[in-house]
Symmetry: C2
Subunit: 447 residues, 2 copies
Amino acid sequence: MRFISKISGALLSLSVAGGMATTAAAQQGQAPLSAEESDPRVMGWMVGSPPPEDKIITQPDSVYFSFPRLRWSVCHLREFLPTEEISRGLGAPVPLSYLPPDQLGEYADEIDALTFTPMNSDEEMTWEESLGANYTDGLLIMHKGRVVYEKYSGCLTEDGKHAAMSMTKSLTGLLAQILVTEGQLDETARVIDIIPEIEGSAFATATVREVMDMTTGVKYSENYADPNADIWVYSRAASPLPKPEGYTGPNGYWEYLQQVQPDGRHGDEFHYKTINSDMLGWIITRVTGKEVTQLASERLWSKMGAEQAAYQTVDGKGVPFAGGGLTAGLRDLGRLGQLVLNGGVINGKRLFPAEVTERISQGGDPSKFLGFPTMPGGSYASQWWSFHNDHGAYAARGVHGQTIYIDPTAEMVLVRFASFPTAANGRIDPTSLPAYQAVAEYLMSKD
Amino acid sequence: MRFISKISGALLSLSVAGGMATTAAAQQGQAPLSAEESDPRVMGWMVGSPPPEDKIITQPDSVYFSFPRLRWSVCHLREFLPTEEISRGLGAPVPLSYLPPDQLGEYADEIDALTFTPMNSDEEMTWEESLGANYTDGLLIMHKGRVVYEKYSGCLTEDGKHAAMSMTKSLTGLLAQILVTEGQLDETARVIDIIPEIEGSAFATATVREVMDMTTGVKYSENYADPNADIWVYSRAASPLPKPEGYTGPNGYWEYLQQVQPDGRHGDEFHYKTINSDMLGWIITRVTGKEVTQLASERLWSKMGAEQAAYQTVDGKGVPFAGGGLTAGLRDLGRLGQLVLNGGVINGKRLFPAEVTERISQGGDPSKFLGFPTMPGGSYASQWWSFHNDHGAYAARGVHGQTIYIDPTAEMVLVRFASFPTAANGRIDPTSLPAYQAVAEYLMSKD
């Protein structure tokens, strides 16, 4: 893995998007350190001037993004990688609304005491226990537009930021859906009609909508045991570091996308493949003439009262990673979720048409959605996940436990940052999704 | 230079600090492109999705930080390098005070029309002509606490940020002087008494004050023709990228500092050597337990009403580059300059004792200050430059034309960001320092 250890950076986001990141403990069948044991402050990462040699976290990403180090690194990605800012502009932030202090304490106590039954389990768990079980770094719950619950742990503080991982896709999808709804982007157009140089790629004949919903028939294997698997080619292409001597592969996300091979028929099935999100990022940039970071700033961050700038990692040509590069503050993702729940309105201002939220929340076709045991009957549309449950919940989701979970029935927005030892959300959903449902029902009982 | 092209990053800041950056045109004796011709918008850098191959700016720094590309890159360093944020906190920015709009226009016209005689010249130049001659990207002038002049050009906008280069040293020096004045740092202590592991280094026996004033006797050669020159060793040590196979040199700023050899006697002479600033950064961090970025946020950025977070580049172990890594907004450096001029008070709040400004503005010993033809009789103290002129002016200065120029007699703070083709300020001072004096006299005439 010597070569891989050198390409760093891109590998991080790609590997964790795909679920590669594992721990030595997990590989050996041991239980990983608990949330308490692996708390970065307990581990003592990066404390000291300099820290002891074994407490320094450095490149490559196989080091800095492996558990338990990743519990520190999720709050510090820019210290390892080149990034672009998503500017919040220069105005004053608009503080979030909160319950009155006494009620806030009451809600916190009651929510912590809530019980639920994890999937595939007979034993009840309290909400408070789920925080540790899920290696939670930050949790914000808003009900009817007011914060009712807010906790920071691990590496995160209220003025810190955390990797959003594949929740980035939902930001990219939201921007795309705004452009579609406003008529700037034709969802029925084929990619080649927008980006002629995609001609030789399987993406050429896909429609924008198929890219948005990840129903394209494109070859992208994530078999980590195969050194020629597409994930490695993509990683090398996406690395922001100078390419190794003799490197002849694609350079950057966009060059990679131009040589993607077909696999199946467009429109038939949903397959969760990150390259769709980067294809969508390219489409957005071609149509608007703006990078996704700039558009996210202009349309969202600078207008929603954000309190922190966010940022996105970039490839070696400065293209933001539209499939996984976002890092942001907890409350700012609360603002984003609230904006979506509110149908485009926040702080009395309309930022996009209500139809954008309608389209996202309506979800995709569940018959095309296979292979996600913790989300039976779900779907994926405009880069957002739909549960198609009683409450009509939908979500942005990222590996290691990131979510913006929106429950329109309960008028609830829940944002969680986490650093679960393994990447795949299928491992974290059992102690998460039933907990969200429990808190939604609790909030509805308070009405 | 193949190896050097791979280490990138650190080299940038070090080379430009030392004045290496030159242009192909300059090497061939041709005049470089004018400010207008080399304007990044005219050059078309990074425009398009993707930009044409010859308009993409990428690693290594020998590419991205060579003129004319550097005119774009000075606003985009984080897109090439790992960085740490200097947080502005979560509160509302405090807008700067401005002259009333009609007066602002009047002042702008009058300042643009001011004339001065550049050093070593017989021909007068107008202030407005000097903007182009100096490849100015941003210029802010405050008089008695109010903005009287503000211009953005090149790559810079009001919500953008620009590399501060060696002005970073003055931020580091300001933090150190605050600690000294407040009694947290003993300026008479020897470095070894604070950092025992510096034992084998020439820095061990220097006092904190000698480090602050760069009067240490330490070997640090910047002979770019010599592949074994210290600048290259420092560059390789400082690079945030994974070290090349077989690399056995120091890793990071602090390891480098531990093996610095002596050259002359401490206290005898001022020699402008960046390693002093990084030594000072280490001292600050050891004494406070905080990185310079964190301290800059806590003491300055989060308390002075800053409107943007700033950032600092880091080495491979996450140590911020205290000698050159800062990037910030133009107005925020105006706030910083005003804070210093005001003796530690801004927006009615005292952030540090008035003695800090007294010590900085008093300067160092001019008899130890040699080899700066454009600053005869000057000095360097606490990492700030003193002119010892009639007005008692002092400044933060960075290569390629960066300055915070403080004239206490005229009650003027002038901040300039620039991207002059060559690094050394000796080339830019002739059309800068007399211009500053002219505008200071103009402002005094308005009283």
